[in-house]
Every structure is written in structure tokens, then in C-alpha cells.
Symmetry: C2
Subunit: 429 residues, 2 copies
């Protein structure tokens, strides 16, 4: 671990720098796969599944029989845990519903804003070592509440051509309309262009490795929206002597086990706390099954001593962490002052895992400093805001003159004319 | 104009196709300019201003003296029109403020969502023939209401090194914090990387030609967010015999005068209305100052006869127009059923110009079919949604078990451990 004491603000940028990724060499591969899927549809998809996932099968859509088997196979204990998490995610996202915003801006000029669901959405759920069924909840639950008609889920098959049963169970429970056994770049390409088996969608959500990330970026060039640009997961904890070192260490480690490129930072105004957390990390690390991964992430982690809370907050806002745990005597100061963070966890009994799984907040959050300009996934991510206006004769008389003057000043005579004709008609009557 | 009668749904996609743009040859230029501005800052910016705008000057930031001169030079009539428009835009966007969404998802588990302003935003306002000071209102007013700290505006200088006084006036009135005389790709690059004179921003808003559009797309690869991908402006009108042909024609023409690539479509269940609108367009077109532009756009326009409202609505949702005017006996049917549109204008006295200038709705809207997956600019465009959670001892006891089970099932032992440690601590006490 790297310990840094009172860094001056001009060094913050380099201290807080995230690892740069080179996407150029990946980009060519991604473009090739996109072109093939656009041209050859399912045939291309099958070829890449064979090549990358090492498996070949006919029907890439998950059947009702497969879902039934998954439902039957899952332990009751896990089903109950998923039910509790789903209920909390539902409560929190249901509460985010907004009603029509309606304003009569001038007499006879009625304007309103409404949100309507994005009709077709695609959810990408990675396979691999950790079957992220929790991400299914985080994406499918708000999609359903938003009212999206078509909710397509793509996830890579294992060597036997199956998707992890917990993923199938969660997808079925949350109202996913179609589950497709396709992963990686070919899944994103399939949802971008549509194939015989994979529906074309309007917006793609979900995490993934760097190939999936670059594929999602490329998808935007073909008219598909994405939830947000992705990067390695990250956690910043600010803790003083009121924090419990063992808890802080466990949170840092739970971030570190995600991947060797995970970002882990402790900021503290207490050198004692920094040392205590460091010791705790070492002892907890020893017994972790994913020790090899966590160890590498921890080696790159940073423990930063800062003189006072005000400077600490500035540094944290400069970083813009995805996850931000606040465990200090001055929690309100940090909570009120944080401008750039994906999700904020407050106090000794609020581990990041709570938000990852079951408290109800969404765990799909902006990484890589994107907390400065992107929201985490929320109900609105599955809707778009539309405006409406209805103007009466009185209304156009009230604002018509202003429109004519402004249109004229912008040199747009036809814009003016659309008003002039109407005003003339009203005067005639 | 192209008249089409009862097209079958399998032909809709080709009938409604927008002109494809090739960005590949532009992309290279954009990348070069980005690299130069990233490397050489203001020196590069100045070189490109000389090359593209044909003007050279020292101080690219607009001074208070220049603003005072602009304020003094603007006719009172125009100032009053701008004041009226600004007041309406303020009312409508102010009403979009949302309060904290707070839910106790389980006893002791308090979750909330808050929106906080994006701290640094950049507004791009094109120069050229039409000085779009109205766009300044549409972007700076919500930025100010959102609470963005730094609102930077870039707009290209004319041959004398000046920005149109109406743009300066509006920018100053709306609380823009810095006005920079830089346009085109170099302006977007400057706001992406920051130079000595141009602040780096977190999100860039505003219209522009295809160079600016590609530059904004490239900016996203450097961590900057953008309002939305842009395309030529477009209008679809659905009108039956209850519409006034002259009004419909004037609306279609006000769209057509934007550019030769503007998209103009009339959908009608009345052949008589189609013919009447066609005649009106011809006669109104003759007297327009921008006739040459409008004529070309109209030549590519489409008048589509559809048998009934239900099919018409399907076709319109398939297209997803930026602007959608509804002038029929069944307005409610269309308003309730429209899923994909940027902004909807209802009835004979609601011209598109009203929304372009003064009704209060935003005129920065998704074109090119992006109404299917993007919102128009609104208050939330200048904010990001963050979540917070605070869990008590009781709270973690209520959801801790579910977290442990799910973390274990995903193979993430450290995530589980963060909860286990806390539960153990509580039991000890």
C-alpha cells in the first residue's frame, strides 16, 4: 500500500490518477465483429460464440424448460435473499417515479414534461467466475417499473451452453422478456443491429470487461444509447478515529476482490487510523478466497493522510469516487459537501456490500471519475423526458410578438411567418 | 415533394430513412485538431481560428467592455422579447426541480437519491448566418437553475473578431461565467482538455455543424459528457381536415429553412388536406428570404397519406420525430400514444416556433430518431443523480443475512465478510 502524507493540491491529479487503458488495439477487433454481425446475423454470432466461449448449440434463446430447471435448482435460502433484495430495489426505484410537470408559462400557454419508457432495452450480464445475478435485479427491476415493453438480457453461455441458474432465476423473476445465450462483443453487436434471434434495442445497460466496454461505445455510433462509459470499480473511504478499522479494511477488501485493477483509496485525518486499517487489511487478506486478486489491487491502493476535513473533501471531489464511504465525526460535512460521487455510504454499519446487493440503491454507478458528469443507473435511465405544449388563441397573442422579434433577429423569417399567419387569422375573426 | 399513399409497414423504414452522413473523412481532421489543442493549447486554438474563421486576435475571452457595448447596442424591443422568453424558460425549467427521494426500504435502512449540479459545463453556440441567441437561453437558463458553478460559452468570432451582440447580451443576462471567442472543432477540443484561456468542462451542450457533432462525439472518449448526438433538425406534422393548411405549411417551411438537409414530413388521413398543404407551401415559399435553402429541404420532404389514426401513430412512433405537431380531431389519441418524440405541439395555435423561442420548453431536442432513447435537454441534463444510504445496527441485522447469502453465491467472500464482521460486532455488545 502506498501511504501519502499531506499531498499538496498540485500533486492530487497524479496521485489520484486511474490506470490508463489502451483501447486502440481492441477497437479493430470490435469493429470487425460488429461488421460481421451486421452482415451475417445469427451465423456470425454463433461463430463467435464457438470461438470465444468454446461452445456450439442451435437455440440461443433460453427456453421455458431451462428456466423451470433453474428455478427448481436454486436453494430456497438464495431465493429468499433475492426476494428481499428485489423488494428493496423495487421500493427505492418505485419512489423515483415523477409525475407530469405542468406549467402555464403565460396565460394560454400550457407546457408540460412527461417521462415515457424507452420501449426496447438490452441488459448485458457478464459470465465468468462471478455470476452477477445481483446486476440482473439492478437493471431489470427499474426497466420493469419504467414500463419498457421489451427487456432483452444477454449473458455468455458456459462450456455446456448454459447460463448460471441464479441469473436465469433473477431474470425470470424480474420480468425480462427474452434471455439470450450470447456474450461479449457479439452480444452487444446483436442488440445493436438485431439478428433473427436477438432483438434490436434502443439502449444497452450493464457491466462488462474492456471488450464489452469498447463494444458499447461503438454501439453509440449506430444510434444505440448506453447507460454510461465503464471502468474498473472503485471505492474511496474517508475515516477518522470514530471509524472501526476492521470495518474499513473489510470494505476496502471487498472492493479489491473485484479485480486486480480495482481502485481502493483511504483518506484520513488520523495517522493512527491509517496504520490500524493497514494492519487490518493484512490480516483479513490472508483468509480471502480471492486473495490473489485482492492482493494486487491492494498493492496499488493508496492511504492518504490529509490535515483536515475541508481539504479532504476537496480532494475527494477532485477524484469523484464511484463508491464513497464516510465514517467520521463530521459525516454531515462530507454528505452535504460531496459533489462528485456515485453512491455515498454513511456510518460504521453501512458497508458497500449493502448497496451492492440489498439495501435498494442501484449498484450500476459511474466509475473512472464519471461521477462528475454521469448519474448512476436509476429509474430515469429507462425513460426519456418529452415535452408537450398547447397554446390557445390568447396564448399565441401573449407570446407571439416576442417570437416574431426573436425569429427576425435570428434571420429565420419562416419561423416568424408561422406566428404572423396565426395572429392575422385571430384578428380577422 | 414526395407524396406517398398508404405505404405498407414493411416500406416504412425506407420511406422514413434519414440521409446518412459519412463521418469517416471528417473524423481524421477532428482527431488532428484535438491532438494539437491537447498539446499546444491556446497557440493551436489561435492557429485554427485564423485558418477557419479568418481572424487573428490576442484576447479570446470576451471582456466586460465588449459586453457593455453589446448591451447598449441591442434594440429595446429585442431585449424585451428575450426577457419574456427567458422568463418562460425559467418558469418551465424551475418547475422541473425534484426534491430528495427518501425511502426506508427496511427498518434501519435509509436510502435516498439527490440531484447535484454538474460543476463545470460548456455551451457551444454556432455562429454563421443565424446568430442563435435563443439557444443561449435554452442552455444557460437551466444550467443556472441547476446550480452549475462554471458556465463557459464558446462561439466563433466573425471576421472582425466579434461575437454577435445578441449572443453576448443573452449570455450575460443568463449568468454565463465566461464567454470565449472560439468556434468549431477547436472550441470543443479546448473545453475537453482545457487551455490557458478555455476552462476544461465536464459536459458540453449545444448544436453545431457536422464538424462540431463529430468533435463532441470524440470528446466523450476523453471523459467529457455531451447533451446528445446531433443530426439535422426535423418536423413531422400529423393533420386532418380540422387543421388549417396555411398554418401547417408555415410550420413545415419554418423547419425547412433551417438547412437543406432539414427533414419535413406531413402525415395525414385526408388527401384533401395533403393537397391543400402542398399548394400553400408553394405560395408561401415564394416570398421567403431563405427560399433557396427551404426549397431544397422541401424537395426532399414527404407527404404521407395513411388510412387511419392508429396506423399513422405507429408510423410516427417508428420515425420518432424531433418536433411533432398534432392537429387533428383526435389530438388526445396522438398525445397519449406518442412514445418517441422530442417535443409535441398540440392544436392549430401551437406553432413549432413557439417552442423554438418563447413558450418555455427547451428547443435542444433529440433528432435523427434519437427521440427513441434520449431526452431533450431539461433541468436534469445539468445535474447528476447520486444515491446515499445510512444503515443502523438494526438495519444491517435486517438485511445482512441476505447480503451474505448473495455475496457467497456470487463468489465474493470479502463482500460477505464486510457484513459478517459487523453482525458479529453487534452480537458482542
Amino acid at each position: 500500500m502506498n501511504k501519502i502524507y499531506n499531498p499538496t493540491p498540485d500533486t492530487w491529479a497524479s496521485i489520484l490518477e486511474r490506470p490508463t487503458k489502451t483501447v486502440n488495439d481492441i477497437e479493430q477487433t470490435v469493429k470487425e465483429i460488429f461488421a460481421a454481425v451486421q452482415k451475417d446475423g445469427d451465423v456470425a454470432v454463433s461463430n463467435y460464440t464457438k470461438q470465444f466461449d468454446g461452445v456450439s448449440f442451435d437455440n440461443i434463446e433460453v427456453t421455458a424448460t431451462e428456466i423451470d430447471a433453474a428455478v427448481a435448482s436454486l436453494p430456497n435460502e438464495l431465493k429468499e435473499a433475492i426476494a428481499l433484495a428485489k423488494a428493496n430495489v423495487e421500493k427505492f426505484h418505485q419512489a423515483q417515479k415523477t409525475s407530469r410537470v405542468s406549467v402555464e408559462t403565460a396565460p394560454g400557454v400550457q407546457c408540460w414534461q412527461e417521462k415515457r419508457p424507452i420501449q426496447k432495452v438490452g441488459l448485458y450480464i457478464p459470465g465468468g467466475t462471478a455470476p452477477l445475478f445481483s446486476t440482473v435485479l439492478m437493471l431489470a427491476v427499474p426497466a420493469k417499473i419504467a414500463g419498457c415493453n421489451e427487456i432483452v438480457l444477454c449473458s455468455p453461455p458456459d462450456k455446456n451452453g448454459n447460463i448460471n441458474p441464479a441469473i436465469l432465476y433473477a431474470a425470470n423473476l424480474c420480468g425480462v422478456t427474452k434471455i439470450i445465450k450470447v456474450g461479449g462483443i457479439q452480444a452487444i453487436a446483436g442488440m445493436t443491429f438485431g439478428t433473427q434471434a436477438i432483438p434490436k434495442v434502443y439502449k444497452i445497460f450493464g457491466p462488462g470487461n474492456q471488450y464489452v466496454t469498447v463494444a458499447k461505445q461503438l454501439a453509440t455510433q449506430f444510434g444505440v444509447a448506453i447507460d454510461m462509459p465503464a471502468g474498473p470499480s472503485e471505492l474511496l473511504v474517508v475515516a477518522d478515529d470514530t471509524a472501526v478499522p476492521a470495518f474499513v479494511a473489510s470494505d476496502l477488501l471487498s472492493q479489491a476482490e473485484h479485480g486486480t485493477d480495482s481502485q481502493v483509496i483511504l483518506v484520513s485525518i488520523s495517522k493512527e487510523m491509517m496504520d490500524a486499517v493497514e494492519n487490518e487489511i493484512q490480516s483479513q487478506l490472508e483468509v480471502l478466497p480471492r486473495k490473489a486478486i485482492a492482493e494486487k489491487a491492494i498493492a496499488n491502493s493508496k492511504l492518504i493522510f490529509i490535515e483536515n476535513d475541508a481539504i479532504a473533501l476537496d480532494l475527494i471531489n477532485e477524484y469523484g469516487p464511484e463508491h464513497f464511504i464516510v465514517c467520521t465525526a463530521n459525516n454531515d460535512f462530507y454528505v452535504d459537501g460531496i459533489q462528485n460521487a456515485g453512491s455515498v455510504f454513511i456510518g460504521n454499519y453501512t458497508p458497500e456490500s449493502a448497496g451492492d446487493y440489498a439495501s435498494g440503491t442501484n449498484h450500476t454507478l459511474p466509475t473512472n471519475g464519471y461521477a462528475k458528469n454521469y448519474s448512476g443507473v436509476n429509474l430515469d435511465s429507462f425513460m426519456k423526458s418529452m415535452t408537450f405544449q398547447k397554446i390557445s388563441e390568447t396564448g399565441i397573442q401573449n407570446i407571439g410578438k416576442a417570437i416574431e422579434i426573436m425569429a427576425e433577429a435570428e434571420g429565420l423569417q419562416a419561423h416568424k411567418n408561422a406566428v404572423t399567419l396565426r395572429l392575422a387569422q385571430i384578428e380577422k375573426v
